[in-house]
Structures are given as C-alpha cells and as structure tokens.
C-alpha cells in the first residue's frame, strides 16, 4: 500500500501536469511543448484553396543537377517549410546555411556549387486536386 504522503504527492504531481496540459490546449502555442496544443492536422483547409510545399534542387561541381531532400541537410520537409516562412526575407542566406549543414553531414560528397529553392503550389477546388505549379523563389551560388 502506498502511504498517504506518497498518494498525496502523486495526486499533486498528476494534477499539476493535468492543469498545464489543459491550459496549453486552451491558450498555449507549440512553444510551450510538452504542454502545447495538440495541433497536428487541426487546421481547417478550405475545399477551394491553395497550399505550398518546398523543395531544393542542387547543382554540384561536376555540373550534375539533382533534387536534394531536406533530410540530407538535417531537416524534415515540414521543418524546411517552417524555416522558409521564418526566413522569407533572406532565403539566399537560408540556402547558404542549408548548404553548410549538407557539407557537415556529407563531407565525402562532391561539393555543391548552386542551390535552388522551389515553391510548389497545389490548388484544390471543391475538395479535389485542381492543379499544381512550381517556381524557383531563391538561389544560392558559391561564385
């Protein structure tokens, strides 16, 4: 049997976590994790709307052009999107930082000469896919 003191301390600790969780759900932001709102897939995408995702294309010193998955630069796709939003006014600087990250992770690979950031815009109409288009929105070059 747990003593009354041990039961009381468990109730207090559990109650404190529950209160923090409820407060986070009602008023918090992701910044307060682990007491953040559980917001994955909680947004309401309108049936007729557009949304964006991002990709990076690389050209190495041998002139080869290839798609560079965010993972090779130490980020997840969704983190790349968040970083793009956070660096909207300095996207070339962001690409330079991502290139540094790539070099640290893959020092053995052919150096990169150029990076191109692309925005892919997907359109929905009536809840159905209506179109996709991609455009380059930033460049980084070592020249």
């Amino acid at each position: 049997m747990l003593s009354a003191r041990r039961r009381r301390s468990r109730i207090v600790a559990g109650g404190a976590v529950a209160c923090a969780l409820l407060a986070g759900a009602a008023w918090g932001t992701a910044d307060e994790w682990p007491f953040a709102p559980f917001s994955q897939y909680s947004g309401s995408a309108q049936p007729s709307s557009t949304y964006s995702s991002f990709s990076v294309t690389a050209i190495d010193e041998l002139g080869r052009r290839f798609s560079l998955p965010p993972r090779l630069m130490g980020l997840r796709s969704v983190e790349l999107a968040e970083q793009v939003e956070a660096h909207r006014t300095a996207l070339a600087d962001l690409l330079s930082l991502l290139r540094n990250s790539y070099v640290r992770l893959h020092a053995d690979r052919t150096p990169l000469r150029r990076l191109i950031l692309k925005e892919h815009v997907v359109s929905l109409r009536g809840g159905r896919l209506a179109g996709e288009r991609a455009r380059a929105i930033a460049w980084w070059s070592d020249e």
Binding site: R10, W33, P34, F38, Y51, M73, V122
Partner: protein, 301 residues
C-alpha cells in the same frame, strides 16, 4: 457536501486501484526497447539536427528557461549514447528508479533537440508520461499477478495520458479549425502530400475523406470511454489500434509511441518470458510485495 467527498474518494480509489505488477514489467520492456528503436532507427534524423547551423535552432520555452545548450554533433552523440545505454538498462527491469529517471530526462532532451527546428509533434506526450511514471512503480516481473497501488497509479496515468492525446486533439481541432473541420479538405490535403497506394485511388472522391474526418472527430471525442472498466475500455482501445492502422494505410504515418502506450489497457500480465529468458526479469524484493488481501479493495484493469 457528502457527494463531493464521495466523488473525491471514488476518484482517489480509481486512481490508486491496485493493478498487476506483471503489466508494468511487460510495458516497461516494450516502452524502453521502443525508446532504443526510436532513437537509433525510427527517428534517427534527430541526430542530424546536431549538424544544422545554430541560427536555424529555435529553442522552445522550456529550453530557454532551463538554458539547454545548442545541439552540436558532439552533444547530440553524448545524449544519444547515454539514452540508449539507460534505456537498455531500464528495459531489463533492474534499477527501475535510477535508469528509468535517466531515460525520462534524456528522452525529454532528445525531443527538445527534435522539435526545435520548426515542427513540434504531439504523438510523444503519452510516452513521456509513461517514462515519467514507470520509475515510480517499483520492481516488477513478467507474469507477476500480484497487484500494487504503485503499479496501478502508474498504469492509470499512462491510460489517462493516452486518452488526453486523443481528446486534446479534438479540442485543438475545434480551437484551430472550428466545427467546420469535419467538412474541410484537411485529410484530402494530407493525402495529396503523403498519399499511399491505398489512399491515392480516392483522390477524386473528396466525400470519402470528409467521412474519414467525421469518424476521426467522433473517435477522438469519445476517447474517454477508453477509461471505462472492463470490456468497454478494452474494445475502445482496440478501436484506437484500428484507427492508427487506418492512418498508416492512408498517409503512411503510424503514431508508434501512442500505440505502444495503448498496451496499458490490455492484460499484459498474462504474458510470460520464455523459460530460457526468465532470468532477464528481476524478482520483486519481499518488502516490496504487497499482501494480496490489502490490495483487493478496488480492482481495475
């Protein structure tokens, strides 16, 4: 007044209802081995964050308050190695308090490293609660039917955390998406981004995804039923497993930590280690074993 006292007493009895130590033992093995798998294989990308330039690091509130350091390759490697060693020690069931507490703190830091570059995932909450409470449950052995209040409280907290993840998700949907969420194109958008061979054929049938959203909303809203005693609770936990499997087929995502924690709802105490591996499971010291008659007052699980 009497009613309030009665409700408080019933809540306390429910929270501390004795449950079998054997369930703790199995859950401990599963959860700590999952941590190893998660760190080394399933989310190995977390370690790559050590190479990302510090200017892309956006520390979360608790990292700022606790002055946690910027992840570097060396720091991330140290955390990773210590975490794996501690998790393997804890999975053995020995030193549950020391090894378990170390795993909780290191895994928390591991998640801070994971979530400080622009994206926070919410599928880790129940696992973190499990890691926080498992060290309090004392020694436990596979197949041990002996019930204890310490085991009961730990299991109850894990169950509540699992339910909270579902229920708080529906709260977030109402907060961010409003009641319109159920008829929105959120699931369609997820399928367009992460569709699978099972969900892609439905891209031209938006009503299928709207129906899926109604099901999700109803499932999450009804999730407290999982805490009901006996068959109702276990059936709802099975429905939860089905829900996660459906997500896996539709968008290729499985909320593994949540699935592992769902084990708290099932009679894992019926599982035994194969005879050759029995030595792996520690024996509870006599002083820690509660006489069955003392813990028969309230039964659960």
């Amino acid at each position: 007044m009497d009613e309030i006292v009665n409700i408080a007493g019933a809540t306390r009895a429910w929270l501390f209802a004795a449950m079998p130590r054997g369930r703790i033992a199995v859950l401990r093995t599963a959860i700590y081995l999952f941590v190893v798998l998660d760190v080394v294989y399933m989310r190995a990308w977390v370690a790559d964050h050590g190479t990302v330039p510090a200017s892309l690091w956006h520390p979360l509130m608790f990292e700022r308050v606790l002055y946690l350091p910027v992840p570097t390759p060396g720091f991330v490697t140290v955390v990773k190695v210590m975490l794996v060693v501690a998790a393997l020690a804890a999975a053995s069931g020995r030193w549950p308090r020391f090894a378990g507490t170390a795993v909780f703190l290191l895994y928390l830091e591991w998640q801070f490293i994971a979530f400080s570059y622009g994206k926070v995932d919410h599928d880790r909450f129940a696992l973190l609660v499990a890691l926080a409470v498992l060290p309090t449950a004392g020694l436990a052995r596979w197949g041990d039917k002996e019930r204890s209040q310490a085991a009961g409280w730990a299991l109850r907290l894990i169950m509540i955390a699992v339910v909270a993840v579902y229920f708080m998700s529906v709260i977030a949907k109402i907060r961010y998406g409003g009641l319109d969420w159920v008829s929105s194109a959120t699931a369609m958008r997820a399928v367009l981004r992460r569709g699978t061979m099972f969900s892609d054929p439905f891209r031209n049938l938006p009503w299928v995804f709207v129906f899926f959203q109604y099901v999700t909303f109803a499932f999450e809203l009804g999730s407290p039923l999982m805490l009901a005693r006996g068959r109702i609770g276990r059936t709802y936990a099975l429905i939860a497993l089905g829900f996660h499997t459906m997500n896996l087929f539709a968008i290729g995502i499985m909320f593994w930590p949540q699935v592992v924690c769902l084990g708290a709802f099932f009679r894992l105490e019926r599982l035994h280690l194969p005879a050759g591996l029995a030595w792996l499971s520690p024996r509870a010291r006599p002083a820690e074993v509660e006489p069955a008659r003392l813990s028969r007052g309230v039964r659960a699980g």
